[in-house]
Amino acid sequence: MPGIAGRFSTVVKAKVSKLLDKAEDPAETLDYSYQKQLESLQNVKKGIADVVTAKKRLQMQSDKLEQQVVKLDTQARQALSQGREDLARTALERKQFAQTELQTLDQQVVELEQQQQGLIDKEQKLRTKLEQFRTKKEVIKAQYSAAEAQVKISEAATGVGEEMADVGLAMQRAVDKTEGMRARASAMDELEAAGAFDDNLTLTEGQDDIDRQLSELTSGSQVEDDLAKMKAELGQGSAPSPALEEGAPAADQPQQSQGGQA
């Protein structure tokens, strides 16, 4: 049957018939086929383990990012109280970026969770089908002549072969997704290492490039909002920088220099 994924079942059939063509002894073919199926079950187990590993990695990354968000917020505050608005802005840009990444990561963890569950279900199903195939093959071996057996084997093997191919496809898709996430996680590690603040609030090497990337990635207005809020909290409404927001509420002005205001 052509069209919509028809070639998928064609591939399965081609594989099965190739196997049968080579076989002189149907009983042997059946045993061989069953052996292959057991191997593919092992592969599914390995696939599940890979997904779990990837998920753990992402969860660790997510924890690290959460700490990063808190740290950057603190650093922005420190920078601002020392009159370093430039540093504060950079810290907030990074915080913004980290928060966006955090959302993506959390969503990916959920996705991997679903992948994992899907593969576990698939493994169970394949296991049951293999058991069925094993029973059938013993019946075929015991009851049919070689010629008749060929037909029966073909039927059973195609059914189970299709299931194996489908599990293979499910695994491939899970692996592809996992790979993509892994690459992203590595990129995050590099970005963090290259552009991290050290504890003395100075930037490490390679900052220019990272800062440019960050500025492009983060939404400027959110950073400005954060900055304004932080300034208000720190009571810096009249700090020397001309870039300060003009509409700051009077309550946020430093009190000690203004005698007569209620």
Partner: protein, 92 residues
């Protein structure tokens, strides 16, 4: 007829559904050709729902070959370009 939703399950459907499925498949091909992603996803979703609601899930102990295999539910639009082209479920 037996329909598999790839990476999901196999279902046994009444033979009458073949025509509806084929019509949806043709629509899906047309949507892909027109590069209409939203429309494609709507049609593809309808196709999956038809199989899931009208069909009976095959037992895990049934070893059956599918008459039709529908691509995985999480198919992306770029993947759809490879799957939904040319002849439909039932060749004209």
């Amino acid at each position: 007829m037996i329909v598999r939703i790839a990476t999901e399950d196999q279902y046994r459907l009444p033979d009458e559904d073949a025509e509806r499925l084929n019509a949806l498949d043709n629509d899906a091909v047309a949507a892909v050709e027109a590069d209409d992603e939203d429309r494609f996803h709507a049609i593809f979703e309808e196709m999956l729902q038809l199989v899931r609601t009208d069909g009976h899930r095959l037992g895990d102990d049934e070893l059956e070959e599918s008459d039709v295999i529908i691509p995985p539910p999480d198919l992306s639009f770029s993947e759809a370009h490879h799957e939904f082209n040319g002849e439909g479920l039932i060749p004209d």
